[in-house]
Symmetry: C2
Subunit: 447 residues, 2 copies
C-alpha cells in the first residue's frame, strides 16, 4: 500500500520532524518499506487531502478498560477511598460478561477514533470479560496489551472483588495469557500482560507467583508504582523499601515493564527501573487528582528512564491522548514554577522541569513504543505503519494563520487544539480500522 501525505512525527525525544508531501509504502504485514518524496510516478493508493496531515498513531500505556463508564466523573476522593467508593464496585460488575461486552464494543472504536492505535489495558479480575476485551481489540484491529487484574490482599481489596487466593490469582492470570494468545486470528496484535494491580492489593505470594509467571511465559508486566503519598508510604511500611525495589524483588521489574504513575520515584528508584529496562506510564491528568505530586518527567528522561504517556482512564478524565500531551506540558510548567504564591519563587517549584509539546508527543508515540519494545510510533522505514490522518483545515478545530504559522506552530496547535472529530482515518499495522461502534457487528467478525 502507498499513502501520499505530509508527515509530522518525533523520531527522537523532543525533535519534531516534518516531511512534506511524502509517499509511504508498506508491505503486506504493514511494515514501512520506504518513505520518499512524492513524484508523478509514485501512483499512491491513497492521497490525503491538502488540509490533512499524517502522524504516528498514539500509544496509551495505561488504560483501565472497566473504568470507561466513569470517565470524567467521580474524582473527588483520594486514591485509597476512590478505589473502594467508585472503582471496585464498578469493576465488580464485569462478572456480567454481557455488560463487559457492551462497554468494550463502545470503548475500543472510540479510542481508535481518538487516534489510540495501541492501548495497554488493565481489565478486571474476570477471565471472561478479559478475554472479551482482547477479542474486541482484535475485531476492531487495535494493537493492545490486555491484562487480567490480579489482586488478593484481604486488606487492600473488598471481599466481593478479589482473587480467592494467591494461587487462584496466578492460575487465572496464566489461563488468561493462554486464552489471549490462542484467539483465532491473533497474530500478535493483541498481547497478554501480567497485571498485579499494585502492592497494596496483592499478597507477597501473589506478587512472587506473578513474577515467576511473567518469566515463564515471557510476557510483559504492568502495575502501579509509587503513585501517591499513601501508596508509596504503604509499600515503605509493609516491605521496608520503595515500590520499585520491592517489585524488583518479586521479579516484576523486567525489561519493558510498565510502571504506572511513578510520581514519587526517588533518584535511586529511577536508576533501578532504568537499569532493569522498565519505564513509567506518565499519566499527567490522573496524577493531578490522585498522585499528590507531579511526575518529574524531564528529570526521568535525562536519567535515561523509558517513559510513555498514559490516559489512566478513568483516574484521568480524558481518554484523548492529545489532551494528555497538552496536560503533560502544562503540569511540567507547574512543577517548574510551583503553585503556592505565599512561598518564595526560588523555593516554590523544581527548576528545569519544563518539557515542550514535541517531547510530550514523543512520549505519546515513540517513547511509549520504546517502553513496550514495539516498532511503532515513528513513520520511517522498518517501523510498522500505525498512523492517523488529522484534518487541520478550515473546518477543523485547529485554527491556522498561514502568515504566522510555521510547521512547529502548526504542530503545537494540532496537539493542543484538535479533537477526535479532526481525525479522519486511522491505520493499525497497515490496515485501516473502523472508528465507529455503528459497524460493530460487522467489525466483530475477525478478518
Amino acid at each position: 500500500m502507498k499513502i501520499r501525505g505530509t508527515i509530522l512525527h518525533t523520531p527522537n525525544k523532543g525533535q519534531l520532524e516534518v516531511l512534506e508531501d511524502r509517499v509511504v509504502s508498506t508491505d503486506p504485514l504493514g511494515v514501512i518499506i520506504s518513505v520518499v518524496p512524492y513524484t508523478d510516478d509514485c501512483q499512491p493508493d491513497i492521497e490525503l487531502d491538502k488540509s490533512v496531515v499524517l502522524l504516528p498513531g498514539l500509544v496509551d500505556t495505561h488504560v483501565h478498560a472497566p473504568q470507561w463508564p466513569q470517565l470524567g466523573t467521580g474524582l473527588d476522593e483520594p486514591l485509597e477511598k476512590w478505589l473502594f467508593k467508585y472503582t471496585f464496585p464498578l469493576e465488580a460488575r464485569y462478572s456480567d460478561t454481557s455488560f463487559a461486552q457492551r462497554v468494550w464494543q463502545s470503548m475500543v472504536p472510540k479510542l481508535l477514533g481518538q487516534g489510540t492505535t495501541t492501548a495497554v489495558y488493565f481489565s478486571s479480575i474476570h477471565e471472561a470479560a478479559t478475554t472479551a476485551l482482547a477479542e474486541t481489540c482484535l475485531a476492531f484491529g487495535q494493537r493492545s496489551y490486555v491484562g487480567r487484574v490480579a489482586m488478593d490482599h484481604p486488606d487492600g481489596t473488598p471481599d466481593w472483588y478479589r482473587d480467592l487466593s494467591a494461587s487462584d490469582g496466578v492460575e487465572a492470570s496464566h489461563r488468561s495469557i493462554v486464552d489471549i494468545r490462542s484467539m483465532p486470528g491473533n497474530k500478535g496484535l493483541v498481547q497478554p500482560i501480567v497485571t498485579p494491580r499494585f502492592i497494596p492489593a496483592c499478597t507477597d505470594e501473589l506478587l512472587s507467583g506473578l513474577g515467576r509467571l511473567a518469566e515463564a511465559e515471557s510476557v510483559l508486566t504492568q502495575t502501579h508504582c509509587s503513585e501517591s503519598d499513601w501508596e508509596h508510604g504503604y509499600v515503605l511500611e509493609r516491605h521496608g523499601t520503595s515500590d520499585t525495589s520491592s517489585l524488583e524483588s518479586f521479579g516484576l521489574l523486567r525489561d519493558h515493564s510498565v510502571l504506572a504513575h511513578g510520581s514519587h520515584l526517588t533518584e535511586q528508584d529511577i536508576h533501578v527501573a532504568a537499569e532493569a529496562g522498565a519505564g513509567v506510564a506518565h499519566c499527567p491528568i490522573s496524577n493531578s487528582y490522585f498522585a499528590n505530586a507531579i511526575f518529574p518527567l524531564a528529570r526521568a528522561l535525562e536519567s535515561g528512564l523509558r517513559v510513555g504517556l498514559g490516559s489512566d482512564v478513568a483516574g484521568g478524565s480524558q481518554s484523548n491522548l492529545f489532551r494528555q500531551c497538552e496536560h503533560a506540558v502544562t503540569v511540567s510548567r507547574m512543577l517548574d514554577d510551583g503553585v503556592d504564591a505565599s512561598v518564595g519563587a526560588e523555593t516554590r517549584g523544581v527548576h528545569n522541569s519544563r518539557i515542550d509539546i514535541p517531547t510530550a508527543f514523543w512520549t505519546a508515540t515513540a517513547g511509549g513504543a520504546e517502553l513496550l519494545g514495539i516498532p511503532v510510533g515513528v513513520l520511517a522505514e522498518g517501523f510498522v505503519f500505525d498512523a492517523i490522518a488529522v484534518d487541520i483545515g478550515p473546518n477543523s478545530s485547529v485554527d491556522l494563520w498561514p502568515e504566522l504559522d510555521d510547521w512547529p506552530r502548526v504542530f503545537e496547535k494540532l496537539v493542543r487544539c484538535s479533537t477526535a472529530t479532526d481525525i479522519t482515518r486511522v491505520w493499525v499495522a497497515g490496515n485501516e480500522v473502523t472508528t465507529s461502534s455503528d459497524n460493530q457487528l460487522q467489525s466483530l467478525q475477525p478478518s
Copy 2:
C-alpha cells in the same frame, strides 16, 4: 418564544440544579418570563431532542481578541518575555484593519459555537480594529465588552506598539467608548470597557486619566492584576504597594471591575477588591504557564470576592470554557496537594483549596455575570435568555451509562468531556445566533 427542554444550571455557588422537561418562555427582549414544567397545553416553539440539554451560555471574562491567531502556541517564555517576543508583534498587526476584520469574523462565531455567549475582550491599541471587533460582535449577536487597550509606558511597551502619550491614550479610549456606544443597532449588547493593559505598560498619568474616564463615562474597567512574580513584584517596586491598592488609588478599582488572574493577591488585596465590588477573572490554564502560582479560588470565594472564569486567549491555550472549567478543578487539586514529591505532604500544598465541577461551572456562568453585573448565567425568571443546547446523546463526545449516571455525574461528564461539536444551538438575548463564519456576510448585516 417558548423552548422545551431539560435545564442544567448553577444558580448558586457550587449548587447544581436540574429542572427536567421545562418550558422556558421569554419576552421580545429575551428576558425569561417563566420556567414551568412541560404540560400538553404549553405549545413550545422549539422542542429540544431528548438527547439534548439546555444550559446557560458561558461568560468568558478575559479574552485577548488579537491574540486569537496564536491560540495554542508560543507558551514557552515567561510573561515578560512572551509579551515582547510573540504578543506585541502580533497585536501591532492590527493597525491593518482588514487583517483585524479577518480575525474577528473567524473568531467571534467560533467562540459562540463553543458556547461563549458573553465575552470580555481586550482589543489592541488600534481604534479602527477595536470598533471593527465591536461591530463583529454585534453582527453575530455576541454579548460583549470591547476594550481598546491603553498602554504608553516607554519601558513596558515597545516603541512600535504603544500610545504616543498618556493624553493620546485617554483620548483614544474615550473616542472608542463613543464609537462603540453609537454603533447602529447596538442596544447595549456590546459595551465599551476601559482597558489599561496593566501597570507595567502604563504611566501613572495614563492610569489616572483612565480612572477619571471610567468614572465620567460610567463604564466598566478591566486590567491585569498581580498575575506573576514579575508583574506583582514590579508594581510593589514602582508604587510601593500591591497592584490592587495601586489600581484603587488611580480610580481603577470600581464596582464590577475585572481584575485578570490575581494569582498573587494577598488576603488584604482580596478584602480591598471585594469591598470595591471588583472581582477576578480566573484564568486557570494561562496561570499554569504565566502566573507562577495558582489563584486561590476556594479562598477568594469564601472571602466574598466576585470571581468569573476567563480563557485568557492566547495565554490560555483553550478558548473553550468547558476546558477552562475542567482545568479550574484540576489546578485546585494541585494547589491543595502541591507538586513536588520531595517536600513533605503536610507542607507541600495549601489545604482546603479544592473546588468541584459545579463551582467551576458557576464561575463560568452566574459568577462571571455577577462579576460584570449583568442578569445572565442562570435560566430563571428575570434573567436574560443566553443559553446553549448541548447534545449528550450516543453520537456526542459525552459517554453516558444510564445504569450508572445520575444527573450530577452527567453534568460532570458534560463539563469535562464535551466538545464544541456537541453544542447544537446557541441563543443570546433570546435570539438564536449563527456559529459559523460561512454565513459571515449575511450575518454581518446588523438586524
